[in-house]
Assembly symmetry: C2
Homo-oligomer: 358 residues x 2
């Protein structure tokens, strides 16, 4: 009788404990849902509805080096989908090996952001796509007309633009080049185990990752790195508590181009409060999109997290806290959509196609 009672009490106890455990996870999920959302399947747009024809055309353009003056550089060169939409370089290399000033952000999930580029100067991916093609230190095309001239000389492209923009009299425009690329990018959503968790699967994250998530919210990371992309929702100063370069200075190497301090969004708005303000980057796939920060100065994720804690929040993380947060961040690694990894076979140029200029 006594034994049965003991067993009964133990069972009840462990049941209570288990339900308390479940309740912890459920509470964590409830808290997380205040800050984060799972990824949509496609980042839809009212002004540029995503259609299969646009996505097919956009993918070809994304991978086509003829959108660059030299005929060598494509969107995929710096936003390489084999490496999570980045080039894993501090800053990118462009036409004639000119080195850019900023780290190439990933195109994965980028369409969800409130604006594009580190300084938010483009309002959406449709506007962003027009930039690098014409930037003299990036793809260096001389003008939108030169881009259209090249594409118009390729019969298959002419057909594909008609298919993708069927109700337009003259569909082969620079706007539509950008819209097609953007439509493709809107499909670059990379769901992860964290999304499964957010959708209710309490076992999708390990215990350590859940502890990391809890710290991520408690310590203050989530006050900026929130939303479906865990970033991209606001602009913030890099270096709130202290100047960021106090912490990143030691990581700057001779390899980097000598240049004035990057003033961030100030260059766009000219408001003093925007000095060293940047769009908060997305933390999805962060373990793959090194090196970090707008200048790509820091390679190590652990270092980047400590720097953020220091200059943004005035905190120093213990080794244990750091480990857990990094474990959580790695749970944000997502699945790159299969269609995005299928290289398109590009249509051949014609004798009318203007030649590349190296």
């Amino acid at each position: 009788m006594k034994k049965a009672l003991v067993v009964g009490v133990l069972s009840l106890g462990s049941a209570l404990l288990m339900s308390a455990g479940k309740s912890e996870d459920a509470k964590l999920l409830e808290e997380a849902r205040k800050y984060f959302k799972p990824l949509p399947e496609v980042a839809q747009s009212k002004t540029n509805p995503v259609t299969p024809e646009k996505v097919e055309l956009g993918k070809m353009l994304y991978y086509d080096p003829r959108l660059s003056k030299s005929g060598l550089i494509s969107c995929n060169t710096c936003h390489n989908l084999a490496t999570y939409g980045v080039d894993n370089l501090p800053t990118s290399v462009g036409h004639r090996w000119q080195l850019g000033p900023r780290n190439a952000p990933t195109t994965l999930n980028a369409a969800l952001h409130v604006a594009q580029f580190w300084d938010g100067r483009a309002k959406d991916v449709e506007e962003q796509a027009k930039g690098p093609i014409l930037n003299p230190i990036e793809m260096a095309m001389d003008s939108p007309e030169e881009v259209i001239k090249r594409l118009r000389s390729i019969p298959q492209y002419v057909e594909l633009f008609k298919k993708a923009f069927p109700n337009e009299k003259d569909p082969l425009t620079y706007d539509n080049v950008a819209k097609a690329i953007a439509a493709f990018e809107r499909t670059l959503m990379t769901p992860s185990r964290f999304d499964k968790f957010l959708k209710g699967d309490l076992n999708a994250l390990t215990k350590k990752e859940k502890e990391g998530l809890k710290l991520f919210m408690q310590i203050g990371c989530a006050s900026c790195h929130n939303g479906p992309a865990l970033g991209g929702t606001t602009f913030q100063r890099f270096g709130i508590v202290e100047a960021y370069w106090n912490a990143t200075r030691e990581y700057v190497t001779l390899d980097k181009p000598t240049m004035p301090m990057d003033v961030g969004r100030f260059a766009v708005t000219h408001k003093e409060e925007d000095l060293y303000v940047f769009k908060v980057p997305s933390l999805r796939n962060i373990s793959r999109t090194y090196p970090y920060f707008h200048d790509g100065s820091v390679w190590n994720l652990e270092d980047a997290v400590q720097i953020m804690a220091k200059v943004q929040l005035g905190k120093k993380l213990s080794k244990d806290q750091l480990d857990k947060i990094v474990a959580f961040l790695k749970a944000l690694d997502g699945e790159i959509p299969k269609h995005a990894l299928e290289l398109p076979v590009l249509p051949p140029s014609s004798p009318a196609t203007p030649k590349p200029q190296r």
Copy 2:
């Protein structure tokens, strides 16, 4: 009765005509089989047997820019599988935008060739793969040890080398890097309608293409451009009847680097008879692998064919002959294997991975 007789005679007549037509095609096929063979499914090797593990690893390495000093250039940069294994540039662009002296040959079907590079200095694709990685004007890695250092710092690569070379004590060697890439390249076979014809489908080519094939053999093109790759079987002087630059000179633009006349295989053998001798290139996918010749000086396929007729055979083709030959050449456009177009997701670097140097 008369009507039946007429119908009977007409039927017999057309049957005879049809069989005479079939016989023409059958004769053409018989003749073609003396010069050409259909592509194998894989270009097998006794010394480097192709296995799925090697191919998977080789594909990753082929697409991995960390095999270059800058971390920007991969095999796929110049041998872009989205554009039939070439970069469609006169000569390639390498580290720090240095311009190479020769046109990048396609990796498609290359494993079938008797040797690699325009001057045949590598005996097979296993030897070829070692070249560009270390070439200071191409991928510019400082040494094989530097390549291995990078790969060894990436745990997934260490595992993949063990899987691909299971009976070796230390599988992560530069030789094996090349063997893996070569194994992948051995699967880059691109069967075309011409292969269907060679396998017996007399209707796989159009009438015009068959006439082009006939001319191709009659005129003398097939005396050099033969074998399964329609090329790659011998070395020949470019400019047999007259100096080739008599014909290509007008196509040379200011864009091209100033350099001494390319002496071809002479630079390898130092034999006078090898002056301006090059490996005969493959004509498979030729309509996609412009611009043409070792220096990539000629963009237009029709022009290239006329130049060949002139300087190799001392002939001038009529417009009709040219049209037919070019139609046949276009029938050599093949299917790029699906697996080759599936971009691999590359493993991340580790803190131990040596940094790129731009």
